[in-house]
Amino acid sequence: MTAVLSTHGLLARYGDFQALYGIDIELHQGEAVALIGANGAGKSTLLRSIMGLLPVGREMVRLHGDPVGGTATDRMVQKGVAIVPEGRRLFTGMSVEDNLRVAIDQAARMGAKGGWTLPRLHQLFPILKEKARTQVQSLSGGQQQMVAIGRALLCQPRVLLCDEISLGLAPKVIREIYAALPEIRATGTAMIVVEQDVGLARTASDRLYCMLEGRVTLTGRSAEITREQIGKAYFGAGHGVV
């Protein structure tokens, strides 16, 4: 079976600093994959490279087997890849509904088909209906994260990239947001979830990749990998248990 999304020896650099050294990952239909690793391991860089936000070689990223590396971000969205970016990146000065409408507009323009509609999103996150007319900057962090996830879903993605969606949120809110992920997966959308919290990452994913300093140091089924293995892969050889 061809992977929905795969990277092949992906290299990325910021100026003189090399951030990724040949990353190979695969994501299959309907699968959730977690990317874990310490700060600076290159997790966000990997997602940004896939999304066309960093220059990468054409053959380094494949979507349904087709080389798409370096494709412009808006074209990647058109091809069915959406991202919930780190820091949420909502459109400030615009209401919750207008933030979501931007995605609906573009999906309509591109003729993207999928099951996500505003009413369906309101079922998933009821607060978004209540706050529809509120400016996004006056929402709580958790509510903003729901808008960011909603905005990505309304792009009707077949692949959803989630970058640190639990960052800075209270445990109760994190549970609420992660509780929505199975429903998103049930639509057949494959997911890559970047997550700092190893426990959370394991329960939310089928497989995981652990990254360290721009390389993948461990990969396997989330349920089978031991904490000792993750500890070694997370901090490098010679370090203790998490």
Binding site: A72, M94, A103, Q106, A108, R109, A152
Partner: protein
């Protein structure tokens, strides 16, 4: 009575400034592109309109009908060929590029039309007036004000309610996040500049009808447009409209005090607003 008349004249003058300011509100206020050639584009369009009128014997309305689509096309080409290469979080590259364009346009106009002042024949429309109460109001300034109000209303609705408007607001809030929702920012910017310069097509016709234009007149129009946008507040279309009114009224009252003081009075009010409320009358303070 004399002051009331000044107020009325000021509002009418503000209608003219609003037509320069709307395009500026869109480019500078929304896209953060500093377009130094803004005024020169008005003058260029005016001169093209005047030449069309003389060559083909067109009246003001047919000139307007031809000029506005031409202006839209010019705006689109300007964004595609020049501004999309320099647009970004740093306003300096667009400022430098359009500063060069401004000088080039002024010299091009001098070459084609010489330094002489010209105006668009209005076939009498420019001298008609109607009496409202005890104040005589020129018909042309009234039309200018009505058109400015209509353009402001239309632009405001476009930004708030349409797919294009939402995409433009999204792109100006966060270009990268806009691309992440499928927006092609360069295509959206090209449409926005096309709309901004299209509005200048209206301004060009009315400017050439109500007074004379010469190739070196652009920078003054640029200053008025900047001042109106800053007074009103960045990013708000009705703010730019009100800012134009404030500028027009200040100048008209200044002229009443002393004919040499009019333009300066406008600049002084602008500086007072900048010093006391730098975010503008309708702008939100940066936290």
């Amino acid at each position: 009575m004399e002051w009331f008349d000044a107020l009325v004249q000021g509002i009418l003058l503000g209608g003219m400034y609003a037509q320069y300011a709307l395009g500026m509100a869109l480019m500078f206020g929304v896209m953060r592109i500093v377009n130094i050639s803004h005024g020169d584009l008005v003058i260029l369009l005016s001169l093209i309109g005047i030449s069309m009128a003389t060559a083909w014997g067109l009246g003001p309305l047919p000139v307007l009908i031809v000029l506005v689509p031409l202006a839209v096309l010019m705006g689109w080409v300007l964004q595609k060929a020049v501004l999309n290469r320099v647009v970004g979080s740093d306003p300096l590259p667009s400022l430098i590029a359009t500063f060069g364009l401004s000088i080039a346009l002024q010299n091009l106009m001098l070459q084609i039309w010489s330094a002489n002042s010209r105006s668009l024949p209005g076939h009498g429309i420019e001298s008609q007036s109607i009496e409202i109460g005890s104040v005589y109001v020129g018909l042309l300034p009234l039309i200018v004000l009505a058109v400015a109000t209509g353009l402001t209303w239309g632009l405001d609705l476009t930004l708030k309610r349409t797919r294009f408007g939402r995409a433009l607001r999204a792109a100006s809030a966060d270009v990268e996040a806009a691309a992440m929702t499928g927006i092609n920012p360069r295509a959206v910017y090209a449409m926005a500049t096309a709309a901004a310069v299209g509005i200048l097509g209206f301004a060009a016709v009315f400017q050439a009808l109500r007074s004379t234009v010469a190739p070196a007149d652009g920078p003054a129009q640029l200053i008025y447009a900047f001042e109106a946008v800053i007074i009103g507040g960045m990013g708000t279309v009705w703010g730019a409209f009100v800012g134009s009114m404030v500028l027009g009224i200040s100048q008209a009252i200044g002229f009443r005090i002393d004919p040499g003081f009019g333009v300066l009075a406008g600049h002084i009010v602008f500086l007072i607003v900048l010093a006391t409320r730098p975010q503008g009358l309708f702008g939100k303070a940066l936290s």
